[in-house]
């Protein structure tokens, strides 16, 4: 199988900011992303769970596979949204099938 080098960026961010983040990503030229639900977690701002919540609370995880050369643009876009907010951004090296899609 023909694989291509890529970066896998995972951004855990507060749910009320999801649309701001994805808009920023798209503006930064990201062609695709996947949003995973988050059930709960813990960090400096305490422990939380989604159970029984009614409002737009908790966090979501946005996963983004991109070409390595686009990483900096993406991180800047992500950082502009995450900056003042709680949230975690991590990057892993990855290989992808069908690079024409990225």
């Amino acid at each position: 199988m023909d694989m291509h080098t890529a970066k896998r960026v995972e951004i855990v961010i507060e749910a009320p900011l999801e649309s701001r983040l994805t808009t920023a990503l798209v503006d930064a030229g990201v062609t695709g992303y996947t949003v995973l639900p988050v059930q709960g977690g813990s960090g400096r701002s305490g422990q939380w769970t989604r159970e029984g919540q009614v409002g737009r609370s908790g966090m979501v995880a946005v996963v983004c596979l991109i070409r390595p050369e686009r990483l900096d643009g993406l991180l800047e876009a992500a950082f502009s949204v995450v900056e003042r907010h709680i949230g975690v951004v991590s990057v892993t090296d990855a290989q992808v099938l069908r690079a024409e899609r990225f």
């Binding site: 507060e14 749910a15 009320p16 900011l17 701001r20 701002s45 305490g46 422990q47 939380w48 769970t49 989604r50 159970e51 029984g52 919540q53 009614v54 409002g55 737009r56 609370s57 003042r84 907010h85 709680i86």
Partner: protein, 325 residues
């Protein structure tokens, strides 16, 4: 006085309050009882739809009252003004930062729709009528308080947070849209529409409310457990004093407008209640530096149970006495 006590006693033994207490107990005892998020959201959609629809149908039935516009205006005014009172009190009574105080203040200017629903239940169980459009007043009171809070913060720092999407987001918040929308549906379809769906939105309403309050007890209890210690006595005192102050403001405007005793009571309940759904989400976007555990604990962990148990009977007793029951 004896009246208030009997009323409070009756109230404490209602299935609604006991369900909340059960949830609170379960969470504090660290039971693994939980209501799934989707079910909690489903119940809140049901409650908002039902309360909006019934309000609209009542207005269609009774005609548009001369005081309708005045009441809406009073609601907007209260929502704008109460945060300033709350903010001043918080700065005097607690050590909260400017930003935390503003965030808390936004919650107390806005309203809690479940407290409102509990208030209407108490009125109903005592056979006291009220204006159907009070649910529209509830809707218009959700948002203005957020703007007051932003203004309070902006005053304190040069660079204002210029997020143009925010205002739209606040006004088109799901719960406002659903409440106002179902109000209009109820108004448009009237008694006939209500009859069609009353075995869905009227008969099982109290029961759904019980399960919803069970969930609120669980969420409040988990919150209290996780933030134990982060809240000072001054803040707790504020969370009991502020609803009383708010209710007095609501009382005065309600009497001035000439609402019925039930309407005055609901105006008091709205003013006394503090948001814990719409405003927290808006605060995460607008004032991310504010500590959520402070405002959630005060609003959901202290003020909500206070209103549910003691506040509402007090407000109803005062309203019926002063507005002539």
């Amino acid at each position: 006085m004896a009246d208030i006590l009997t009323l409070a006693g009756d109230n404490l033994l209602s299935p609604i309050i006991l369900s909340f207490a059960l949830g609170l107990f379960a969470a504090l005892a660290r039971s693994d009882l939980t209501v799934p998020e989707a079910v909690a959201k489903g119940m809140s959609i049901y409650l908002l739809f039902a309360i909006g629809f019934k309000g609209g149908a009542a207005v269609a039935e009774n005609g548009i009252d001369a005081t309708l516009l005045l009441s809406l205006g009073a609601g907007v005014l209260l929502s704008f003004v109460l945060p300033f009172i709350a903010f001043a009190l918080l700065r005097a009574m607690t050590g909260l930062s400017r930003i935390d105080a503003a965030a808390v203040a936004a919650h107390y200017g806005s309203i809690s729709i479940v407290t409102f629903v509990a208030g209407t239940s108490v009125l109903e169980s005592q056979g006291i009528g009220s204006e159907g459009y009070m649910v529209a007043v509830a809707a218009v009171m959700e948002a203005p308080a957020i703007l007051s809070a932003l203004w309070l913060v902006a005053k304190g720092r040069p660079e204002a947070p210029a997020d143009d999407g925010l205002i739209r987001e606040i006004l088109l918040n799901g719960s406002i849209v659903l409440l106002v929308g179902s109000f209009f549906i109820g108004f448009a379809t009237g008694a006939e529409g209500l009859e069609k769906i009353s075995s869905f939105i009227v008969s099982p309403f109290q029961g759904v409310l019980c399960l919803f309050l069970l969930d609120m007890g669980l969420v409040a209890g988990r919150g209290l457990r996780n933030t134990r210690g982060a809240i000072g006595m001054g803040s707790v005192a504020f969370a009991i004093l502020m609803p009383l102050i708010g209710s007095v403001a609501g009382l005065m405007l309600g009497l001035a407008i000439g609402l019925s005793p039930g309407g005055v009571a609901l105006m008091m309940v709205l003013s006394a209640s503090a948001s814990y759904i719409a405003v927290p989400a808006a605060m995460r976007v607008a004032l991310p530096e504010a500590n959520p555990s402070v405002y959630l604990t005060l609003s959901l962990g202290v003020t909500f149970p206070f209103n549910l148990t003691l506040g509402i009977p007090i407000y109803v007793a005062i309203a019926t006495t002063l507005a002539g029951g």
